[in-house]
Amino acid sequence: MKHTISVLVENQFGTFNRVVTMFSGKGFNVHSLSIGETEVPDISRMTIVTSGDDKIIEQVVKQLNRLIDTLKVVDLTGQPKIERELALITVYYQKGTRTEIVNVANIFRGKVVDINNKSITLEITGPPDKIDAAVNVLEPYGIKEMARSGTVALKRGEQIKHDKKDILVNHIKEGTK
């Protein structure tokens, strides 16, 4: 089963590498991984989509916690959350199919961001399954290229179940080091 794990890490040289090395070294799956800054300059957030049975996910979370550079690890799976992904998809068009493709973009609340005499590039954002659906619909037209950002996620509302490193939540809320 797929799990979305949100990890706050030190925004520091080598941290990203440490997490990736741990995943490959332990043989854990990574479906997508994104990293970016948070509201606190020296803390980054990684969103990792991984899969495995409960025992494996438990190990993933523990091993992430064990890394010195991780500040907080939350498995968002099964929690109220907002998940988003961005995809850029370039699709070939022929006479007549261009409007169809633009319509598809509209249905998925996407945008046309580039066009030339052969192909058209759409920007679609949304939960990963929405992107999957869009890709599915666009496939028959002939996808030339595609880039997906990987999932980013935040929990909804305020309450999260804190785990071991929850002292940091306060740190992070106050924006202190």
Partner: protein, 572 residues
């Protein structure tokens, strides 16, 4: 003492930090990227630098020192090949949770990534085999990184930490201030176990009819042997130990069942198999211990105490985890159990297993055997020596036949199984241990993997007894070839290529002995133990094709345990 605001060079800061960490020894080897440090070292008098002969030797020495004392072992090497030579020792320390800090020189910051002379990305290389590592990018971070390195290495579940020091950083100057406290917001080891969990564990242990304590290296690392001994004695609990746990409980006492696992005793493995409550203390359910996972302690309620949450439910799913320092948890558990459970029947059963299949070997054919040598050593030293083994058959025989009475006395490479560990690790231990003999035991194969360090031992006049159990084979591999690989003795026979070990010892300046006669063993050991102004070497030429029994083949259960070589007549 120096004022805190004076400008100091990187090299000065480095040594000032080591002084404050109370480092006594650095095991090191110089080279281009660390010349500035060595220049400063020339005048340093508050610690001793031990020049090794190979950087792998330095890391194992640091491990030997750390395992024997519980203090952090320190290594200093140059960039590139100096750094890559430490990799095996670092991996070894990682697997066995040994606190060491390895300082590596690095090319100047502006050359990093340029394939500069003697550049290696040692931080990248060692990332999966260190507890943590650092590249010092600014001299302002140097002191705090060193402080953190020692803190991380020695707290929680201990482990190796590497600090990479670019040459320009060490060469620059900066105001020195040493952080009083270490604050690492992502690192807070849990010390005290959860109260309710401990209570629950106690309730279950109280009701046990067939309890068993399964003790790992964690008990020794946490300094919890006293708590263990009280806990076991008060309640008459049987104790079995892992390879790393040997000595946590005195093995000459009745409550000790000896080692469990692949080459463990029959009765210890039977006890694991039949217990109703298994209390795992600082052990990690390693595959060499469990054999077939699904069958391990099948009917037992499993309680697992460990400081590292990742160890829990990793290999075996347990019923009751307690995350915390074993020493503390043991003390609290003991306090909760006021009345010993009644387990006389269980002890009778264990006694029957002991009699059913004792450890034994052939004593009456006049040939010299490792088991005999090790039994003799155990008697002579009353189980009180520090024994540093290598990897192979002799290692298992030591675990079976040497009756360790103290913790931090059995130093061995368990997790990684690194041949070449014994000689340098014994040297590291001998710098710290002065009141008991330090004995290195190697096979003829492994001895040749780090024998260059004999020079280090001789130069420093360390009274180590280097013992070679020479069976002219890579014995453990030969054993597997005989048992599981159709008797194809592929590249394991060393008889035609082994050196003359006595001459070799003498070339290094050691008094050296050799025998293949069991009746000589006493005299040689007496003579060897009388030498105290430097190391000696003894070669015991033992029977070539002996095997370690019992053995439970990898991934199997006690039902498949073999206790002796199959007689050809039985085979047909």
């Amino acid at each position: 003492m120096r004022s805190n605001n004076q400008k100091l060079s990187g090299a000065d800061i480095f040594f000032e930090c080591l002084r404050r960490e109370k480092v006594e020894y650095i095991f090191g080897y110089p080279g281009g990227a660390v010349l500035k440090l060595y220049e400063r070292l020339y005048d340093v008098d508050f610690l001793k630098h031990i020049l090794v002969r190979h950087e792998q030797g330095a890391t194992h020495m640091a491990e030997g020192y750390a395992k024997a004392t519980g203090k952090v072992g320190v290594v200093l090497v140059t960039s590139g090949p100096g750094a890559t030579n430490t990799v095996t020792g670092i991996a070894d320390a990682y697997m066995d949770s040994v606190p060491i800090v390895v300082f590596t020189g690095q090319v100047p910051s502006h050359l990093i990534g340029n394939d500069a002379f003697q550049e290696a990305d040692i931080v990248g290389i060692t990332r999966p085999i260190t507890k943590h590592n650092f590249l010092v990018r600014d001299i302002k971070e140097l002191a705090s990184i060193i402080r953190k390195a020692f803190y991380i290495a020695s707290t929680g579940r201990p482990g190796p930490v590497l600090v990479d020091l670019p040459k320009d950083v060490v060469n620059s100057v900066c105001e020195f201030s040493y952080p009083e406290k270490v604050e690492i917001r992502g690192y807070k080891p849990t010390l005290y176990g959860h109260q309710n969990q401990i209570k629950k564990a106690a309730d279950i242990i109280k009701k046990a009819k067939k309890p068993l304590l399964y003790v790992g290296g964690g008990v020794i690392m946490s300094g919890g042997e006293r708590e263990l001994r009280l806990f076991a004695k008060e309640n008459k609990f049987p104790v079995t130990m892992t390879l790393q746990g040997l000595g946590a409980y005195p093995m000459n006492e009745d409550l000790s069942l000896g080692m469990l696992g692949m080459h463990g005793t029959y009765w210890a493995n039977q006890a694991v198999n039949n217990c109703d409550v298994l209390v795992s203390l600082g052990a990690r359910f390693d595959d060499r211990v469990t054999g077939k996972i699904e069958a391990f302690a099948l009917n037992a309620y499993k309680i697992h105490v460990d400081i590292d949450p990742t160890c829990i439910d990793k290999n075996v799913v347990v019923d009751l985890p307690i995350v915390g320092d074993v020493k503390h948890v043991l003390a609290e558990l003991a306090a909760e159990i006021n009345e010993p459970p009644k387990i006389d029947e269980w002890w009778k059963q264990i006694q029957r297993w002991r009699e059913e299949c004792p450890l034994k070997y052939e004593k009456n054919d006049g040939k010299l055997r490792s088991e005999f040598v090790i039994e003799k050593l155990s008697e002579k030293t009353k189980g009180e020596a520090v024994i540093v083994t290598d990897v192979g058959q002799h290692q298992m025989w030591v675990a079976q036949y040497y009756k360790f009475t103290n913790p931090r006395s059995h130093l061995t490479s368990g997790g990684l199984g690194t041949m070449g560990f014994s000689v340098p690790a014994a040297i590291g231990a001998a710098f710290a241990i002065k009141d008991r003999p330090v004995i290195s035991i190697s096979g003829d194969g492994g001895f040749q993997m780090n024998m260059q360090e004999l020079a280090t031992a001789v130069y420093n006049k360390l009274p180590i007894k280097f013992i070679i159990i020479n069976n002219s084979f890579l014995g453990m591999v030969r054993q597997w070839q005989e048992l599981f690989h159709a008797e194809k003795y592929s590249f394991t026979d060393l008889s035609a290529s082994n050196p003359n070990f006595v001459k070799l010892g003498e070339a290094f300046g050691m008094k050296s002995f050799s025998t293949n006669n069991p009746f000589d063993v006493d005299d040689i050991l007496d003579e060897a133990f009388a030498v105290n102004d430097g190391p000696i070497l003894i070669e015991f030429k033992v029977v070539k094709e002996d095997m370690v029994f019992p053995i439970i083949p990898s991934g199997q259960t006690i039902k498949e345990m073999m206790t002796k070589r199959l007689d050809p007549k039985e085979m047909v």
